[in-house]
Subunit: 427 residues, 2 copies
Amino acid sequence: MDSVAAFHENLHGQVLDLLRTVGTFGRTETGGISRLAASREEQGARDHLCRWLRAHGFTVRIDPVGNIFGVLDLGDALSDRAFFCGSHLDSQPDGGNFDGALGVVCACIAALFLKDRVCRGELKPAYRYYVVTCWTGEEGARFQPSLVGSSVFTGTLDLETAWALEDADGIALKDALRDTGYRGTDDVLRPDHYLELHIEQGTRLEAVGGVIGLVETCWGADKLRVQVTGKADHTGPTPMEDRRDALLAAARVVVAAREISDAAEETLYSSVGRMELHPNSPNTVVDAATLWVEFRSASQHALEQATQAFENRLPKIAEQTGCDLAIPLREHREAIRFDATAIDHAAATLDGAGVPYLHLDTIAGHDAIRMQSVCPSTLLFVPSRDGITHSPLEFTSDADVCAGFDAMTAVLARLIARPENDRRSGQ
Amino acid sequence: MDSVAAFHENLHGQVLDLLRTVGTFGRTETGGISRLAASREEQGARDHLCRWLRAHGFTVRIDPVGNIFGVLDLGDALSDRAFFCGSHLDSQPDGGNFDGALGVVCACIAALFLKDRVCRGELKPAYRYYVVTCWTGEEGARFQPSLVGSSVFTGTLDLETAWALEDADGIALKDALRDTGYRGTDDVLRPDHYLELHIEQGTRLEAVGGVIGLVETCWGADKLRVQVTGKADHTGPTPMEDRRDALLAAARVVVAAREISDAAEETLYSSVGRMELHPNSPNTVVDAATLWVEFRSASQHALEQATQAFENRLPKIAEQTGCDLAIPLREHREAIRFDATAIDHAAATLDGAGVPYLHLDTIAGHDAIRMQSVCPSTLLFVPSRDGITHSPLEFTSDADVCAGFDAMTAVLARLIARPENDRRSGQ
């Protein structure tokens, strides 16, 4: 084995090792990961990666919403241009260790790859390299909405609103960040380009075997908070006709959301992933239910039709159950298209390296989507077994992890050397 | 006002005062009561009543499941015969202060009434008087099933099973009792008669105005725990046809239970008051749901038909949603009839005192139902405004509380003097 091949093999080992270490933070009895945003478990992973960054010559910067950036000066970089690469550390409750952590770990080890190429005179980066080891609260599991850290960073969510978000126990994000030591005060350069490696969380790559996904578009989404108000009563003596059962109404809302996506003419997904009930006691009629309803589609038209159909169903449910139904909160996420020039560069790089790839869309939200609103953003996928994610069964093989790392570093090397394709290229 | 009338008025004041004081333990911001079984809040009320009992000459006995008995020797009582009177102190989350507390408070103050009658030579009790200030866990709110304390006391639930019951945080009743100081070791005499005053939790008394309810029967109930198992997945990319959404299946179960009671030929009530979801995170398909389903009816036939119809619906829901549905736990509570002779005595007492009353049935479960399985048991109701209960809006007027106290003490005086109508009368 020549020295370059040996070096690459060593990098693969470091990727797998660091991924394994990150996976010890928040490990559950089921073998899954519960590493909620700004929790003690996530703090452990944050601390570990900050130590890793400092040990490898990075300057660590932490912003007020807890995003962590490792800044690496690669010698002859343009000092005011920043190339960001990273992902998130938080997980779903009992989720997997590839969702987020994979992109963070690969962005870290990629620094060693970049340094090596620079030292050997094979690469002249046009940017400072920023590893984002942690976009705060990507998952939207503990705090809603999702993509909190990248939304604040890109200005689509203001800091005070983000700080005021509360988890189910009423703990504010602002306090959770302080308590874990990650409510920073650092300013961070605006990025000129963003790159993220992530698991597909679908089965299209697996179906063709061992290939990279080059993401072109992201589906739009409408996320609706539905509030149902009924009346508390004894589940025994209260005559059925006098009951205003908020759980019955909520159940009809869940069924309605599914019926709407089943009946949609264009492809449209729906879900209710969370529902909170009060008082949730066996002998009391539920008097309040909150539902987190979402519709997702590549088609703006389909989304509009679905949310309209959904809203049209609520008065009937209110009438059937005697409950009040309202939508106090809604979030609309536009379908977006990733930077086409960057995709062309990435495709040319993979073609040149003989790496098979598929052009894909993504249905899940990613920090890369938020970043695309402020700079060219590139999102690469690796296969995930059976498409299972947000589950202890989430899995990507070592071979696919390493192939993903190689594809990402190849694309990174090309993009970081080319300032003509960044957010200022049109200026 | 003569001295007897003044004494009675004083007792009314003491009833209202003690009820108000008990209502300070677990008071919520909404003005309701959250005094869950074996909680710190309930401990406060237990402590207060134990002090009250000791200050009024009672011996306090606490059994291993935390039931509290205040024993009063009325001088010439038959020392081995026990007349029990009481209710429970626990409430629903954000419930009311009349459900349970009323019966406890009236049973306490009734001791002063009994003493007075005995001192004046107007009453020769045939029993020791036992105030049950706390049947543990009547509500079934924190620990399921309901009626835990009276079930263990009457032998329909064994102590070890009761101790092992866990709340939603995994805390065992055994430990909660120990931590609050109410896992006792005292033996308690078997009761020969039981009397309980309770709010109606319905509107039939209110409809005719200011009358006492004399409960003849209690509806039967079938309580079914339904477990739904789906598969965790990302709510975004997972194709709809691949999802096994446990919340969708649970919603169909809730709707099915209601459809069954709506279609029942005889009067039958249904409810789902509690539902637990996992992981209950907005971006993850729910993989597990647990539902607390109940059917209640005076008709055993209607109950059988409903539970059968319900079970018949589950395979279809499983087929529609790809989930597994099972009923891991079921509790059948027979419809019961309260002791007819005691009802006749109570009716004669109320007739004699010119107190208007209605013969009623009860749909809600009560400790008196459990007691009827071991001794003649008598249950009296007072009106509750609009029938609202398990809610901060639960309310009974001072006048109705005092009328209830008077009716209860009159019936008590008659029954406690008549050993020929107790559990040993047939021996």
